[in-house]
């Protein structure tokens, strides 16, 4: 007998997603966004260059000194000539700069991606549905035929998903979990769009296949 049914119970799935979202935030100080992580994983040189460029900026005093030098270089005497009032609630000496959060290293992104695949494997094993096959199921076969054509369709679908997530600035995790949980208007709108489209398309396909 399998430990879990074919699909996880919705409540358990929700708890697992909440734990991953919260765990990512508590562990890295950054919000979960899988498509962004994947994009950074696929650009290792850029990711490492960014991490290098931010080295030392977690030291707030060093950051304050660097910002002061950059301000003088940009505005010269202008920043002293125009005495700006301190921000509300801040004394003339200022407050400590907010601590910056270091970027997760490229290796951490690779571990996350590997764990995503392992999680799927574990879930399928626990539900007793683990099997390896080279087709995409009878529905996909009927809609898009079998063999190489179905693989090309799958590849095109992947490209469209990648393009869409980059264009929308997030995916089901970035907008759906991290954004909606913070009631971000853009994320709420994006989630309504992609989930709404998915539901409509599923209903349409179910009708076509009936």
């Amino acid at each position: 007998m399998s430990l879990l049914e074919e699909y996880w119970p919705a409540g358990l799935g929700a708890l697992a997603l909440a734990a991953v979202s919260l765990g990512t935030y508590l562990g890295t100080g950054r919000l979960l966004g899988v498509s962004g992580m994947l994009a950074r994983l696929l650009r290792p040189r850029e990711t490492m260059r960014l991490a290098r460029s931010e080295r030392g900026l977690t030291d707030t005093e060093a950051l304050a000194r660097a910002l002061e030098a950059a301000t003088r270089a940009e505005f010269g005497g202008g920043c002293d000539a125009v005495p700006l009032p301190p921000p509300p609630g801040v004394t003339a000496a200022g407050r400590p700069l907010p601590a910056s959060i270091p970027r997760p290293p490229w290796a951490a992104l690779a571990v996350f991606a590997a764990c995503t695949a392992l999680g799927g494997l574990l879930s399928a094993t626990l539900s007793g549905t683990l099997s390896f096959h080279w087709d995409l199921g009878p529905v996909h076969g009927r809609l898009f035929s079998e063999g190489p054509t179905s693989w090309v369709i799958l590849l095109l679908g992947g490209v469209l998903v990648g393009f869409g997530t980059q264009m929308a600035g997030g995916c089901t995790s970035g907008h759906g979990l991290s954004g909606c949980s913070r009631l971000q208007p853009a994320s709420l709108l994006a989630t309504v769009c992609f989930f709404g489209t998915a539901v409509l398309l599923s209903l349409l396909l179910a009708r076509i296949m009936a």
């Binding site: 960014l50 060093a62 301000t71 940009e74 700006l84 921000p87």
Partner: protein, 71 residues
């Protein structure tokens, strides 16, 4: 006319940094609270690109503070 603020101010770590020292508010006055469209950070966000913390609104980079000091 009501002044318009950069729509990314809430998530921008530099905006938060400019907020806590009077001396640094000149950046806010010149970019975030005025013509944020010319901020290079803003432009990169709009293009969907990564924005390093070390990138200033004028496009210049803060020095690499973690690099070993030259004698």
């Amino acid at each position: 006319m009501a002044s318009k603020q950069c729509p990314h101010a809430a998530d921008c770590p530099l905006f938060a940094a400019f907020q806590v020292r009077a001396f640094l508010r000149i950046w806010q006055m010149n970019y975030c609270d005025a013509t944020f469209e010319r901020c290079v950070r803003y432009q990169r966000i709009v293009e969907g690109k990564e924005v390093p913390l070390s990138l200033m609104p004028n496009g210049k980079q803060l020095p690499d503070l973690g690099a070993p000091k030259k004698e």
